[in-house]
Amino acid sequence: MKGYDLFELAVRNLRQSKLRNGLTTVGISVGVASLVAMLSLGVGLQQLATRRLAGSGMFDTVFVTSKQDFRGFDREDDQKTEHPEKAPVLDQPARDQMTHLKYVTEVEPEVRVMGEIVYGGQTHFGFVTGLPMSARENEAFDNLQGKFFSGRAADEVILMNEFAKELNPADPKQLIGQEITLRYGERQALPADSGDRPQLSGAETAGDSTSGDDFGFSVVRKTQALKVVGIIQEEPYGGMRTVSRGRIFLPVDLTEKLHMAQFIDMRSSLRGGGGKSYMTLTVRVKDPGKVAEVQDAINKMGFRTFSILDATKSLRRFFTVLDLFLGIFGSLALAVATLAIINTLVMAVLERRREIGVMKAIGASDGDVKRLFFAEAGAMGFFGGILGIVLGFAIGKAINVGTGIYLHRHQLPAEAVWILPPWLIGAAIVFSIAVSLVAGLYPASRAARLDPVQTLKYE
C-alpha cells in the first residue's frame, strides 16, 4: 500500500472513534507537554546561569599568565610545573607572538593600579584600570552616558557612576567633558650599571654592585590631565574580571604609555634583564568556538591559560544531570500516555476484527495491516505532539509570568526562566511519534496475526 493511502486510511479510521482516539491524543499531548515544560525549564535555567557569564565577555577570551608566577587558577597545575623558573616570561615578544596566532584579534594586558584623582581641590582614591577598545561592545557600555574613548591612547577617562557621585555628588553627569587630574606612580627603569641611582621613593632593588647584573626601577609620582568622556552604571564584564574592579577606566594603551607602575614590576625586577613583563594578558579570539584551539596553542608556548571553558565545565555537568532528572520526570506522563495508546489500539483491533479479516481477504498483506495500525499510532503521536507543544508552551508562559511576579515582589528584574528552543519543538514531535510507534508495536502485530478465516466466519 502506498504511503498516502496508508495515511488516509489511518486518519479515517481514527475519526471513526473520535472520542476515544481524541482522549488518547490528549493523553499523549499532556505527556509531551510535561516533557517539554520540564526540559525547557532546564534550558531556561541553564541560559539564565550562562547569561551572567556571557556578560563577562569571557566566552571569546583566554587569560594567559606565566608559570613563573605562582598565581594560577588551578593549584594542581602549579604543582605539575616542575621547573617554574625555566618557564617563559610573559613579555613583549611573547605578546607579539600571541597576536600573530590564528583567530586572535587582540592581546591586551590587564592593568590595575591604585591612583588618585584630584578634582575641585579634593583628592579621591580609586583603582585605575585599563580597558581595551573592544570593551565598547561589552553590555556595561550599552547604558554609557557620554562617549567611549576616542582613540587607543587618548587622554580620556570613563568613571564608574558611584565614583562620579563621589567627585560631584550634586550632578555627576556634569563631569562629562571636564578635566580631572590623575596622580599615579610612574615606573622608571634604571640603567643596569648605574652607580648613582636617584634615591627616590618607591621600590628599589638592593644593589649588589659586585655581581654586575644589577637592575631596578624607580617609581616616580606623576600627574596626568584627563578629560572625562563617559560614566557607566555597571561594572564592565559583569564584574567578573580584574579590570572590572576599577572605578577609573583609561584606554589600556594610555596606561602603558604612562608606564604606570604595577605590582608585577617588582617581580620583573627580581628576574633581571630589564624587560617589561605582564601579569596577565587577555587574548581575544575571533570565534568562541576557537577558544580551545587558541588555548592549546598558547599552552604549547609554555604559558598557563584559563578560559570560560574551564569555568563552565562543572556548570555544564550540573545542568546535564538536571536536564536528565527533569527529562525523567517529564517522561513519566508520556509513559502513561504510551499505555493509553496501547489500550486504545488493542480495543481498535478487537472492534475491527471483521474489518481486518475483510481487508486481508481482498488483498491486504500482514504487512499492510501492521503498517495501518502503525500509521494510526504515529498519527496520534503526531497530533498529540503538536497539541503537547502548544500546551507545554502555555505552561511555560505561566511559569514565566509566575516567576516574573515573584521576582517583581522582591524588587528584582523579571528573568525568563523558561525558554522553548526551536530544536525542542522538533525533537518533542519526533519523540512523540517514536514513542507512539513503539506503543503501536504490540497492537499492530496482533492485528497482523489475525486469522482471516476466523474473523470472517458468519455469525
Partner: protein, 238 residues
C-alpha cells in the same frame, strides 16, 4: 501467468489430495479430507453439501486465506501451499475476487471507497482507481448512491457492491461463499444472473459455495458434492 503457452491449456484450479485438519479438544476435525478436483477456465462450479461438509473450508483454501495441512492447490500453475504469506496476499489481491454471504463491506466507508479498497492494496494510481470503480459498479448495475454507506442500501444492492469490489482488480477466479444466503430468492437470482453474465463476459472462473441445489442447477455448469470433508460425487450439467 509466467507460462502463457501452457497456461491456456492448464486448468484454472487443480487440487490434489487436499487436506485441512483442525485440532479440536483432544482430537482432530478433518474439515477437508483428501479432495482432488480440477476446474477448467471459465467454468462455473457449485460446491454443495450440508453444513460442516467442508465446502467453505475448501473455498478458503482456494482463496489463499487458509493453508492446507497436506496436499496441493494449484491455481494457474502455482501451488498455493508453497507461497509465502506475502505472495498469498498478492495472489488474493490480483488473482481472486471474493463475495460473501454477509457481504463484508466496511460499514464506515462509502460504496465508492469500498470498491476502491482492494485497489489501494494493489497500489493502483488514483485516476485509474476512479475509472475502475465506475466501471465495476456499472458492471453490477449500480450507477447511483455511490457516496452512500452500505447500511443505507438493500441486501441485494450491498451484494452488488461486494461483487463490484471483487471485480475491481480484474481477477481470473471469483469465489462466492453462499452469495444468496442473506437475500430473498428473487434478489438471489438477480445476483447469480449477474455473476454468470459478468463471468461470461470477462471469461472468469467461478466457484460458488451454496446449499441451495435448485439455484445451483440453474446457474452452474458442474455440481460438486462434499460430505464430511470428502468429495462425494460430481454432476456435470448440460
Amino acid at each position: 501467468m509466467s507460462f502463457p503457452t501452457t497456461a491456456d491449456t492448464q486448468p484454472a484450479v487443480r487440487a490434489e489430495k487436499l487436506c485441512r485438519y483442525y485440532p479440536m479438544g483432544g482430537g482432530v476435525i478433518r474439515a477437508v479430507d483428501g479432495v482432488s478436483l480440477t476446474i477448467d477456465r471459465g467454468e462455473f462450479v457449485a460446491l454443495l453439501g450440508q453444513s460442516g461438509s467442508g465446502k467453505s473450508t475448501l473455498l478458503n483454501l482456494l482463496a489463499g486465506l487458509d493453508r492446507p495441512t497436506s496436499g496441493s492447490v494449484l491455481v494457474q500453475g502455482r501451488d498455493l501451499a508453497r507461497l509465502t504469506s506475502e505472495e498469498l496476499a498478492r495472489y488474493r489481491r490480483n488473482d481472486v475476487g471474493m463475495v460473501f454471504q454477509a457481504f463484508h463491506l466496511i460499514p464506515s466507508m462509502t460504496i465508492t471507497e469500498n470498491v476502491e479498497l482492494p485497489m489501494r492494496f494493489a497500489e493502483v494510481e488514483r485516476a485509474e482507481r476512479a475509472k475502475r470503480v465506475r466501471q465495476s459498479l456499472e458492471q453490477v448495475g449500480l450507477g447511483h448512491r455511490l457516496e452512500h454507506r452500505p447500511s443505507e442500501l438493500s441486501g441485494g444492492e450491498q451484494q452488488r457492491v461486494s461483487l463490484a469490489r471483487a471485480l475491481a482488480n480484474r481477477p481470473q477466479l471469483l469465489l462466492a461463499d453462499e452469495p444468496t444466503g442473506n437475500l430473498d430468492s428473487r434478489t438471489g437470482e438477480d445476483i447469480l444472473n449477474l455473476i454468470r453474465d459478468v463471468s461470461l463476459s470477462l471469461g472468469m472462473t467461478v466457484v460458488m459455495v451454496t446449499h441451495e441445489r435448485a439455484l445451483a442447477e440453474r446457474f452452474a455448469q458442474r455440481l460438486i458434492f462434499l460430505g464430511d470433508g470428502k468429495l462425494v460425487s460430481q454432476e456435470t450439467l448440460a
